[in-house]
Subunit: 478 residues, 2 copies
Amino acid sequence: MNNKEFVKEITNIEEDFAKWYTDIVVKADLADYTGAKGFIAIKPYGYSIWENIQQYADKKFKEQGIQNVYFPSLIPESLLNKEKEHVEGFAPEVAWVTQGGTEKLEEKLCIRPTSETIFCMQFEKDLNSWRDLPIKYNQWCNVIRWEKETRPFLRSREFLWQEGHTIHETKEEAESLTRRMLDIYGNVVEELLAVPVLKGKKTEKEKFAGAEDTYTVEILMHDGRALQAGTSHYFGQNFTKAFNIKFQNRDGKDEYPYQTSWGISTRLIGGVIMAHGDNRGLKLPPKLAPIQVVIIPIAAHKENVLEKSQNIYEELNKKYRTKLDLRDNYTTGYKFNDWELRGVPIRLEIGPRDIENNTCVLVRRDTLEKTIVELNNLEEKIEELLKNIQINMYNECAKRVKERTNIAHDLTEFEKNIEQNQGYIKTMWCGRTECEEKIKELTGAHSRCIPFEQENIGKTCVCCGEEAKHMVIWGRQY
Amino acid sequence: MNNKEFVKEITNIEEDFAKWYTDIVVKADLADYTGAKGFIAIKPYGYSIWENIQQYADKKFKEQGIQNVYFPSLIPESLLNKEKEHVEGFAPEVAWVTQGGTEKLEEKLCIRPTSETIFCMQFEKDLNSWRDLPIKYNQWCNVIRWEKETRPFLRSREFLWQEGHTIHETKEEAESLTRRMLDIYGNVVEELLAVPVLKGKKTEKEKFAGAEDTYTVEILMHDGRALQAGTSHYFGQNFTKAFNIKFQNRDGKDEYPYQTSWGISTRLIGGVIMAHGDNRGLKLPPKLAPIQVVIIPIAAHKENVLEKSQNIYEELNKKYRTKLDLRDNYTTGYKFNDWELRGVPIRLEIGPRDIENNTCVLVRRDTLEKTIVELNNLEEKIEELLKNIQINMYNECAKRVKERTNIAHDLTEFEKNIEQNQGYIKTMWCGRTECEEKIKELTGAHSRCIPFEQENIGKTCVCCGEEAKHMVIWGRQY
């Protein structure tokens, strides 16, 4: 096939964003559909992205004294039922195991949709005194939620994530940990994924089933829809009371500890695709990219080309995640498109003329800009370019957030803005769920959060016109 | 509690090895039982051991060009049924999901007991030409097998493992990969876990459901029982034919590829406990230990002790996994016992007199030998000691294997030997399953493997007296 045909295979991003997205997932070989609805196979290229996220986040968790564990994946029904709001939130979307081997189970078990209940069971056994606190656990695992509408990475029936669960002596300590983990998520998304985040608190309606407060980092996609990228929950004593988890405090009295939980998932891979991608395919920020530099020999049959490419590969690969594309059954043009589709930040081209001049060509994926570089300066130049690409990709997203954020003072303005320029809508709000629901019905937008950074944009609720309590940011969502 | 009481809490290893084992699991805080039979909670100390195994093995896999992926955990019944021997082997021990959310499933799904079928489904979709081969995938994940008899780590209903799945153009390449992965497992167990392995091929009776050949690394426990530590399977074209996985070969003709799979699991943690432990508790080889050096300040209230301990901690922790035990609600004696129970390779004691002399005391967990060390030489001395402990622990196990290996030429000798000195029994064997079953019935020993290193110990089968085909090693098992 020729290059044009190859490029044509991806749906145009402006014409059908949803189809563009699934094209990228499959054609960039990140994941594939399987026979079972909502279950995807995460392939090596997609999984490497996840490994990079894991490594980055896990290191930050460990710096906070958080310890990894692995707890059972199956939860007895009676255990799930212990916290009322939690079971109401999750029971409708769990998968139930009713038979083990040849034996019909007396009590059915659900596959964890999240593990608050299992962790509570263990906390109850382990906790005795204030000296045991805080307990700060995390696990990297799979979870299952029987979603009706599914989409690879964004809403799969099975996904990978980490779930942190901690208990603390005081409310203040637990709240502070909740916020600190949110900051870490913000850092993962901004520093590693090169996507700016909106941070804030979820409304009553949008918070996690069983939580007192849910904090969120939200990101804005290419089409102006929002994605919840990570959440951190403060539970107060809701679960510890329901599970009768007690400790002897410093005064020798029994007390319930304060609890948190927090998670990020393979959904972030979907976020990266939709925040950065374009009509050529995926665009990966250098820090996250499984391959940072791809070397493509030009006229590889000519003298010295292969040897030189190999040398450069060996040098660069010591410092950067480098790939040398030696496939002999594809044209150079095909290879260019293929690696652009896969979003590799830098393409390095080297052919006979370059070798003569002791140079090579670097092409950056984000701007497609070409530079001729002296081989003597290559490492330095690549270092610099990777840094610039990371920053530029972040800035491009930040620019979009700015362009796609509008203020609305009443519902007419809200509707008009979100129709004309889908994105974040900033409004004042009275705090009542009634108004929140009305806005959703009318505009399709959910509240994203009550941002930590409140601004002075008015005094009355965008919906009912009564006295406002908070500034809220709204958006249609994935 | 005082020190003696503390030590008493562990069952004597010679009196009741099974109870000693579960004591260690729980009291060294590796894992805990949960409400659901056969499901354990792997706690931070146990999970760190697993993380060290993962890191070590994963690096070796990647050096072999093996790529990590994540495939669905639920397998439709029809898919599991595709390979006859495989389904017969696994169907009796899987957990079945029959309901998803509010919907009763049309086809029930099993939670993976292993994922050959799921990988085959993907191979069928992905494979076109010989140019796509080999495909070498691995996943780190949980699996569920509904075992009747369960024991933490050794035989849990849920466990963590890695499962590698590869397909190849030729039989030779697949067989060679099968053996190479076995060698890597041998290396993990010998180099990291400090346990010598017995390597060989499983008999027809003991091989994996659906495999042509199963290779194994076996290890011998303190009580002379054997543990299968890792297996690597060569499938030939059994699955690729059943799943209709084809590729166009170099001659342009359709052909079925040759397949392998291989796995190690959290069972290895059980192996480490039972291979190295003693009446004081766990004994961890330095390369594997989550904590390599524990520093215990003596008379911590005295001048300079805490400060000096902190300084040493900061220096050592740069190079070794170090812990400074500052708990003020436990006696020094309690701490000594506690860290011995947890198997930390080196204990460093430092008190006022040591500080005066610019020395400290090092106590090695394997021999309990004490050395006074100049603080100026500390790092060097610790480096050396950790190396020695690793080697000594390996040698101790190797000595046991030697002492507990006996040759038998007939069944009487077999029975006598295994009763008097439980361990490996080396015999000649005719190759018939009939004899293998008779031996098992009579002695409780399973064939461990047909060792790669065959010896000349006779000409006739230990059971029927007819002409022998192989030397086999037998043992009672976990």
